[in-house]
């Protein structure tokens, strides 16, 4: 049994648009052998269980059905650690301008 999620919760649904055998003929081999997947967020229409079929109303007002995949999904993209190869650039360029200006 999955976790019970109550009606009105902001969730993400997941589903398959095209199975591996149904992909467009022009896509390369490595894409042919995986499904075309979709994910959409919306408000749960009625109580549902994680991993089970559920229905949402999207911000555009549409009702969509799919597998309940995530509850209040986080935005996890960020900046990551500073990149040493870029950290030095500013100092180098300022030094170059200083040298030019002192000539």
């Amino acid at each position: 049994m999955g976790e019970r999620v109550v009606k009105g919760t902001w969730v993400e649904l997941h589903g398959i648009v095209l199975a591996p055998g149904e992909r467009a003929p022009q896509v390369p081999e490595e894409t042919q052998c995986v499904p075309l997947e979709w994910k959409v967020k919306g408000f749960l229409v009625r109580d549902a269980e994680l991993g089970e079929e559920a229905e949402v109303v999207t911000p555009a007002g549409r009702r969509l059905r799919g597998t309940l995949a995530q509850v209040n999904p986080a935005y996890v993209h960020g900046f990551g650690p500073p990149v040493p190869e870029l950290l030095a650039v500013g100092g180098e360029l300022r030094a170059l301008l200083r040298e030019r200006r002192s000539r």
Binding site: G15, V17, L18, E22, R23, A24, Q26, V27, P28, E30, T31, V34, P35, L36, E37, W38, K39, V40, K41, G42, T58, P59, A60, G61, R62, L64, R65, G66, Y75, V76, H77, G78, F79, G80, P81, P82, V83, E85, L86, A88, V89, G90, E92, L93, R94, L96, L97, R100
Partner: protein, 474 residues
């Protein structure tokens, strides 16, 4: 997504779905066998530069600052021959409401959708355009759905696209995120069919006419600032809309002598429909994966006739490497105090090399910036690249390999551009055009004139290439 028609069935209805969702009768503009009246298609919409500017002023779009880059100019001169090194200027398009020039494109599409009584707009885009449409739709009180190619089969999202998802959702749009593949278009068609909403395609006349104000403004701003139109305008080039709209706007302002240079990030060797290559690209737009195919055949878009026809307007086409763009992005932040997104800085990287070749009294305008933030940043892109096993180091950017090695220059003198052979692109365009002609059909005078305008070749050269292609393809 609801149960529905199969891929083949929906794709077979594509013409009808697209026609209904744009409300333009493209057939009316057909001429000869393959030609169409491009200027009339645009003019019949009724949007001239003044009308577009008035609509955009109403939604706080446009009138962005033109900034002279004094320190970067000095840096370019430090690596140039005596007497060389143009004055560099930047059109700060990040100042638009959703943070990029794409607001200009979205504004007219959304205006048109509202005028015609559509309840909402749909756009197929993984980039800034989605946020722009969502932002404009929010202001107009229309619904908005954005369809993105967002993650690979392992569920790893491209950080820049993850940020676009967040931005679209922040403006109240429904975002359909898809895994990798051109069948995105199938999903897009189904959404258009299910909703009956307006197709805010990047490639309609509305989208291109919306960008004309960018070229028009920068021409006037340069005239006011320097007393003359710019000598060179560098445009980050992907699908062709940015270049087409900007060049048209420049011409309408009278800046017909300005040289228009297209600049793209070199991603040669990476397949655009490959699940494997998807996250090996550190740029999601402004790269050769879009710009080469769209330059050589614009009518591969989601509309019957693409209003973005870059080959008509480009005087030169150059590429730069990913590492050079990250370097230029860092330089803009640390020397000019402007932290902006990397994709928009593609033309800035090219400007280093182009400016170096020009005289000191000449002027060069980098015609856009885009906003930056989590995901949409060199750090996020390089962090992902490292996790994908791509080597990152410093050195000569010529040693970089898309998908394998990103090389950050060690000195500004290492920034170079590679010229793309325009003659080769023109011939490639003509081959595509001829391939679209039905077997046995005869090309008439309007067709040859059209192809000449498309390629900027004279009609007799066009005829020679046609004869040559037909001979060799038999």
């Amino acid at each position: 997504m609801s149960e529905g028609a199969s891929y083949a069935e929906v794709m077979a209805r594509r013409g009808e779905i697209v026609r209904k969702s744009i409300g333009l009768d493209y057939e009316r503009y057909a001429m000869g066998t393959l030609a169409f009246d491009y200027e009339r298609l645009l003019a019949d919409t009724g949007y001239d530069v003044e009308t577009v500017a008035a609509i955009q002023a109403h939604t706080a779009v446009g009138n962005t600052p033109l900034v002279e880059l004094g320190n970067l100019t000095e840096l370019v001169r430090a690596t140039a021959a005596p007497g060389k090194g143009a004055r560099l200027f930047l059109k700060d398009e990040a100042a638009n409401p959703s943070g990029s020039f794409k607001d200009r494109r979205a504004s007219i599409s959304v205006h048109e959708a509202r005028q015609r009584g559509f309840q909402g707009v749909v756009a197929a885009t993984s980039g800034n355009y989605g946020a722009a449409v969502a932002s404009q739709a929010a202001r107009a009180g229309l619904g908005c759905i954005v369809v993105q190619e967002a993650f690979d089969s392992r569920g790893v999202a491209q950080p820049e696209i993850a940020e676009k998802t967040r931005a679209c959702e922040a403006y109240g749009a429904e975002v359909i995120r898809l895994s990798v593949g051109p069948e995105l278009f199938y999903v897009f068609l189904r959404v258009l069919e299910e909703t009956g909403w307006f197709n805010a395609s990047l490639y309609t006349p509305f989208s291109i006419l919306g960008i004309e104000t960018l070229g028009h403004e920068l021409a006037q701003q340069m005239k006011q600032r320097t007393g003359a139109f710019p000598d060179v305008v560098v445009v980050t080039h992907a699908g062709g809309g940015n270049l087409t709209g900007t060049a048209r706007g420049l011409a309408k302002a009278g800046a017909v002598e300005s040289t228009v240079v297209a600049a793209s990030v070199d991603l040669s060797g990476l397949h655009m429909a490959s699940d494997r290559d998807f996250n090996r690209k550190s740029f999601t737009t402004g790269h050769t994966g879009f710009s080469i195919p769209f330059t050589t055949w614009p009518d591969r878009a989601d509309v019957p006739r693409n209003a973005a026809r870059a080959l008509r307007y480009m005087d030169r086409f150059v590429t730069v490497t990913q590492g050079e763009v990250f370097y230029a992005t860092q330089a803009l932040a640390e020397l000019e105090g402007m932290e902006r997104g990397p994709a928009g800085n593609t033309s800035l990287a090219a400007a280093f090399a182009l400016g170096r070749e020009m005289d000191r009294d000449a002027t060069l305008v980098v015609q856009e910036t885009e906003y930056t933030g989590a995901g949409k940043h060199p750090l996020a892109q390089l962090d992902l690249a490292r996790r994908m096993g791509i080597r990152i180091g410093r050195g000569d950017p010529r040693t970089s390999r898309p998908g394998q090695a990103i090389v950050i220059p060690e000195h500004p003198s290492q920034l170079r551009v590679e010229d793309v052979d325009l003659d080769h692109l023109r011939r490639s365009y003509l081959r595509h055009a001829l391939a679209a002609v039905p077997e046995g059909a005869v090309l008439e005078e309007p067709d040859v004139s059209f192809l000449a305008a498309e390629t900027r070749l004279d009609p007799s050269t066009v005829q020679e290439v046609i004869d040559e292609v037909r001979r060799t393809s038999r």
